[in-house]
């Protein structure tokens, strides 16, 4: 009996060696630096796509670690390293600051002026609000206009159904998602579903399966279903600018495949990588793109989606109280 017990215990000890915990870094400047570098090296999804030599970045920034004297400078140094990724989905969170990369929209024309949108010509003061949408009939009540500024604002089928009902006499619909920085992906799917007549593959996603920069799963189909009861079957124009980012980018990617939809405005800001988070030994949080999203033709969407009709805001129009992009959309819908 004892013999069998010894054999069993040896077996268990042997097997326990199969579950080795990964080595952890100490909570020092160097340890935190190495930890952050490794997280990005193994889990960030665009190193190859963006042609970033992450090893050379390690070399360049490692020398700075020894010169850091306080946590604020250390944070700035780490934020600078993350800035090399040029990704709006990459952030470093500490108790005193949040790093960010904003050049994906600050380097481009704004193409959005909220005071114009809320002027009497468009929404004015007497617009309605439902489920995060601000909406009103414009252009002599011939066009329905909805502004949606945040994909974190929940809405229901009933909201949309009643909004569409109020636009029942309109020739077309404008959905303005300019300056919409994103939110929930399932809301982008829900909003797009009202404009599809049948389920369609509108993109793909994949995720990292290993620590190599190109270790990805097979692309997973992203489908946009046609909503069963709520449908808009007349033309629709989606207005975009560079601040149409993340979940909004995903919405635009879906709407590119909608049968009667036209994308008008500027290229979207991108943000095609679905982000995940991790932590450093000192408790700082790092957020990074982990799952690349592709359009229906397997093109990356990280750098944005081109509109069908490229329109920039005209300074003269703006002075005269016209939103060039909305005016273009009205023209398209009236044709």
């Amino acid at each position: 009996m004892k013999r069998y017990i010894y054999i069993f215990l040896s077996f268990v000890v042997l097997l326990s060696s199969c579950i080795n915990e990964p080595p952890t870094q100490p909570d020092t400047y160097k340890g935190n630096f190495e930890s952050l570098w490794k997280i990005i090296d193994e889990e960030y999804c665009y190193l190859d796509y963006k042609n970033i030599n992450w090893d050379s970045i390690h070399t360049a920034y490692k020398t700075q670690v020894d010169t850091v004297t306080d946590q604020y400078r250390f944070f700035d140094m780490m934020a600078g390293m993350l800035g090399e990724l040029k990704d709006g989905h990459v952030n470093l969170y500490s108790n005193f600051d949040k790093s960010r990369y904003w050049k994906w929209f600050t380097d481009y024309p704004a193409n959005f002026n909220s005071s114009l949108v809320f002027s009497e010509r468009y929404l004015g003061d007497d617009y309605r609000i439902a489920g995060g949408f601000r909406y009103k009939k414009i252009a002599n009540d011939s066009i329905g206009y909805m502004y949606y500024g945040d994909f974190s604002n929940q809405f229901s089928d009933t909201n949309i159904s009643l909004i569409m009902k109020s636009f029942s006499g309109c020739k077309g619909l404008i959905i303005d998602v300019r300056d919409n920085g994103g939110g929930y992906l399932d809301l982008s799917e829900q909003l797009a579903s009202y404009f599809f007549t049948e389920e369609k593959i509108t993109g793909y996603m994949s995720y990292k399966t290993g620590v190599g920069h190109s270790d990805f799963s097979k692309p997973i189909e992203v489908k946009t279903p046609a909503h069963k009861t709520v449908k808009w079957q007349r033309p629709v124009v989606v207005l975009t600018n560079r601040m149409s980012y993340s979940a909004t980018n995903s919405f635009v990617c879906r709407m590119k495949q909608a049968p009667k939809a036209t994308i008008v405005g500027d290229k979207t800001g991108g943000g095609g990588g679905l982000p995940l988070s991790s932590e450093l030994p000192n408790g700082w949080l790092v957020r990074f793109s982990a799952e690349p999203m592709f359009d229906a033709d397997m093109n990356q969407t990280e750098w944005g989606i081109d509109p069908d009709v490229k329109v920039d805001m005209n300074a003269t129009d703006e002075k005269n109280g016209y939103d060039t992009i909305i005016e273009k959309a009205i023209t398209i819908l009236k044709e």
Binding site: V12, C18, S94, L185, M205, E221, G283, A290
Partner: protein
């Protein structure tokens, strides 16, 4: 010619006297010993009743309910590579009874536990809310080594669910534990007679052997898995090669006036690996509860005897 047998119509005097004496003795005896006979009849009834009780056995269920204060530490690399630790509460119920009244070698066991905890990372910059539930059913064989020492050995199938929430994680704030396991169980019981009471000491062990578990791939989001239906690499066969755990409970049952209280320590140690992620859950709990034997009646087959009174009656 046929002769009729003469019919005796009158007994002789001596015969009549004898008959009279016996009858008189009987009547006197009955009169005088009425109390003795009554006692004998009663004793016979009690004896018969006692015989019936020993023949008809009832299965008692040993029920244990405990509450505990725990100190958990959790490593969930899907949420964070750091070890989160904190305090928690736990609740456990354990029911055990023999399968059949006439076989005291095999018993069945069912367990249910709930636990919850609030944990922090080492830098105290992020918190994790944990909730866990577990249900298990198993069977044991009873080895009686000595009069007061018993060992129970067997297996237990359980279903495990856990919910971990790190609110600071923007896009992956939640991870779920879902697993089913076949466990080896062992129980050592010893009764120690004191002056007035008998203390019941117990050591319980449980370790998972085989199972199936949900572990998300490190780079995949719940949007992938539950919205797009991509569950590839999310469900894994588990055995000793990728899942090791040991649950230990050391307890003593102390009788008080009309109840038996259980005091104990519970140690949980669990480590498993899938998708190159190593998860750990260690927990130490101080438990207090009660234990009692109960019999339940209900349904069509197990109706309560008439001398049992229910509030439903």
């Amino acid at each position: 010619m046929f002769k009729k047998k003469p019919i005796i119509t009158n007994r002789s005097q001596s015969e009549s006297f004898c008959y009279f004496c016996v009858c008189k003795f009987m009547i006197e005896f009955i009169r005088m010993k009425k109390n003795i006979i009554l006692i004998l009849v009663l004793l016979t009834a009690v004896f018969v009743s006692a015989q019936n009780n020993t023949e008809e056995k009832y299965l008692l269920t040993t029920k244990v309910t405990t509450f505990g204060l725990s100190v958990p530490s959790i490593t969930d690399p899907y949420l964070s590579p750091l070890v989160y630790s904190g305090v928690g509460l736990c609740y456990n119920t354990d029911n055990r009874r023999y399968f059949k009244p006439d076989n005291t070698n095999y018993s069945m066991q069912s367990k249910f536990s709930l636990s919850t905890g609030m944990l922090l990372n080492p830098a105290l910059s992020s918190e994790m809310l944990y909730f866990g539930a577990n249900y298990g059913w198993g069977a044991n064989y009873h080895f009686r080594l000595k009069n007061k020492l018993r060992i129970l050995a067997g297996g237990l199938w359980d279903v495990d669910f856990g919910f971990k929430n790190v609110p600071r994680n923007v896009n992956n704030p939640v991870n779920l534990d879902m697993a089913t396991n076949l466990n080896l169980t062992g129980l050592l019981m010893y009764d120690l007679n004191m002056r007035r009471n008998t203390l019941h000491f117990q050591v319980a062990m449980q370790t998972p052997i085989l199972g199936y578990m949900f572990v998300p791939p490190g780079g995949a989001s719940y949007y992938d898995m539950f919205e797009l239906g991509n569950t590839a690499n999310a469900f894994h066969f588990s055995s000793l090669h990728n899942k090791l755990g040991l649950n230990q409970t050391y307890s003593v049952d102390v009788p008080f006036k009309q109840s038996i209280w259980r005091f104990g320590l519970h140690f949980q140690s669990l480590k498993y690996k899938a998708n190159d992620l190593v998860f750990m859950h260690n927990e130490t709990s101080l438990i207090v509860g009660t234990t009692f034997d109960a019999i339940s009646f209900g349904g069509k087959k197990r109706k309560a005897p008439l001398n049992f009174i229910s509030t439903n009656d």
